[in-house]
């Protein structure tokens, strides 16, 4: 694999000069091989790690990025990567808009180089002098384009949220059907023993329409089918319909294929709720199945659905 890094650097070294300075391509032989070599000593420093400008402006080879490039090469991809720009170097030099190109073969690389060198100067875009000595950015420019070394350059996304809880506040209404069935009746004279009266098991029911209010909580337990983690692109792909600004159109700038729409997934939840009710009492008149005239009498059973509350703690009074 051939690798070329080019970009703007302070002190009169432009991208073209960088190339002409004899550091355009480097063989990747192992993770520990120095690839960046020296674009400019003040701008890009050799390192045992690869390809990242840190906040101090040093150009590092990050093994995570190296792995990514190797994976791309193995997949037959040839892409370019725009590094984070506008980092401040310890030598008071502003490093900006550095691109790295790599190719799967020397021929590819030579083609890149020749195309680059044949471009009019203005068309290169990045080939410009910078005079930013001692101009220190107030903050390093944050970018999402470059993979962070701590996550090995691959930031998983679309990971299902763990323990996602949902609180649902509800109001509404209901229809209650109250069922009643007599099981026994006892009666007696004042102060006397009670005796069982003749009863029949006669089902009866009454309706009510209470108002309801409550809260329901839900927690996600899992999903099916299980989601496949996807990863953010390790490279800064150019827009699909045009090449990267300032670089030859021969460069492979086509955007990666758009991901397919996510597969609908079932979500398994556990939930709990607590509801209260107002109104909607159901009344059964008479005692269905009772003795004598009680089935059509003025007795009544009234049933009201109430909100649940924890049992009262036993009294500690003695």
């Amino acid at each position: 694999m051939r690798f070329i890094a080019q970009g703007d650097c302070h002190a009169g070294f432009t991208a073209r000069r960088i190339i002409e300075a004899g550091a355009p391509a480097y063989e990747i032989t192992s993770n520990s091989t120095v690839l960046g070599v020296v674009l400019l000593a003040v701008c890009v420093l050799p390192s045992s790690s690869f390809a990242q400008f840190n906040e101090t402006g040093n150009f590092f080879v990050n093994e995570g990025l190296l792995d990514l490039i190797k994976a791309d090469i193995a997949a037959g991809c040839r892409e370019h990567r725009k590094f984070p720009h506008a980092y401040y170097s310890p030598g008071h030099h502003l490093v900006s808009d550095v691109y790295a190109y790599y190719a799967v073969s020397l021929n590819d690389y030579n083609l890149l180089k020749s195309e680059w060198e044949e471009l009019p100067r203005a068309a290169r875009g990045r080939d410009r002098e910078m005079h930013s000595t001692n101009v220190r950015p107030t903050e390093p420019v944050e970018t999402n384009e470059f993979p962070l070394p701590q996550d090995n350059g691959r930031t998983p996304v679309n990971i299902p949220p763990g323990n996602l809880a949902t609180l649902i506040l509800d109001v509404g209404g209901g229809g209650i059907t109250q069922r009643f069935k007599l099981t026994g009746m006892q009666s007696g004279a004042t102060g006397g023993p009670l005796s069982n009266g003749p009863t029949m098991s006669v089902p009866a029911h009454a309706n009510g329409t209470p108002a309801a209010f409550g809260a329901n909580t839900s927690w996600i337990l899992g999903e099916w089918p299980r989601p496949m983690p996807t990863f953010s692109s390790p490279f800064g792909y150019a827009p699909e319909d045009k090449p990267a600004s300032g670089f030859p159109s021969v460069l492979p700038t086509k955007a990666p294929p758009k991901p397919a729409a996510p597969t609908p997934r079932f979500t398994f939840n556990v939930e709990a709720g607590n509801y209260g009710f107002a109104g909607g009492k159901s009344t059964i008149n008479g005692i269905p199945g009772g003795p004598g005239i009680t089935p059509t009498g003025d007795d009544s059973f009234i049933s009201a659905t109430t909100s649940w509350s924890p049992p009262a703690a036993p009294s500690s009074c003695r």
Binding site: P161, G162, L164, A165, T166, L167, I168, L169, D170, G172, G173, G174, G175, I176, T177, Q178, R179, F180, K181, L182, T183, G184, M185, Q186, S187, G188, A189, T190, L194, A212, G214, N216, R265, F266, F268, N269, V270, E271, A272, G273, N274, Y275, G276, G286, I287, G290, G292, I293, T294, G297, D298, D299, F301, I302, S303, A304, T305, T306, S307, W308
Partner: protein, 124 residues
């Protein structure tokens, strides 16, 4: 009424999801017996009214649909339409007492159809 159960949530469109729910339900009721005719029939005794709180265990099945709505200051809010059918199994209850000279025993059960609309708020 307290419920505890599970739900299977299925996305229908990019924004609309429906869920099938089910599980345990417990219904609290207050049952009251007003003794009138029974108290004056045969050997008359004073009329009375007796009440008792009853907890009836049961089960529920239902469904839920929800889709996102924009509420200021509440990200990931959604409108939720829920239906629950609750079966409260029967409980035996007796009201009255020896002192009141009348005791009525009965079995009480309940079905409940509940339709609610609400707002859901998600938390990570």
């Amino acid at each position: 009424m307290v419920t505890a159960g599970g739900a299977i949530v299925v996305p229908v469109t990019a924004s609309l999801t429906v869920a099938v729910t089910g599980g345990f339900a417990g219904v609290d009721k207050t049952v009251t017996f007003n003794c009138v005719t029974y108290c004056v029939n045969c050997v008359p005794v004073p009329t009375f009214s007796a009440s008792k709180d009853v907890f009836m265990p049961g089960a529920y099945v239902g469904a839920r649909a929800q889709w996102p709505i924009a509420l200021p200051g509440i990200p990931a809010a959604a409108f939720v339409l829920q239906y629950k059918h609750v079966f409260a199994f029967g409980e035996n209850v007796s009201l009255g007492s020896v002192a009141q000279d009348r005791i009525v025993g009965f079995n009480v059960a309940q079905d409940l159809d509940l339709v609610t609309a609400g707002v859901s708020i998600s938390f990570h």
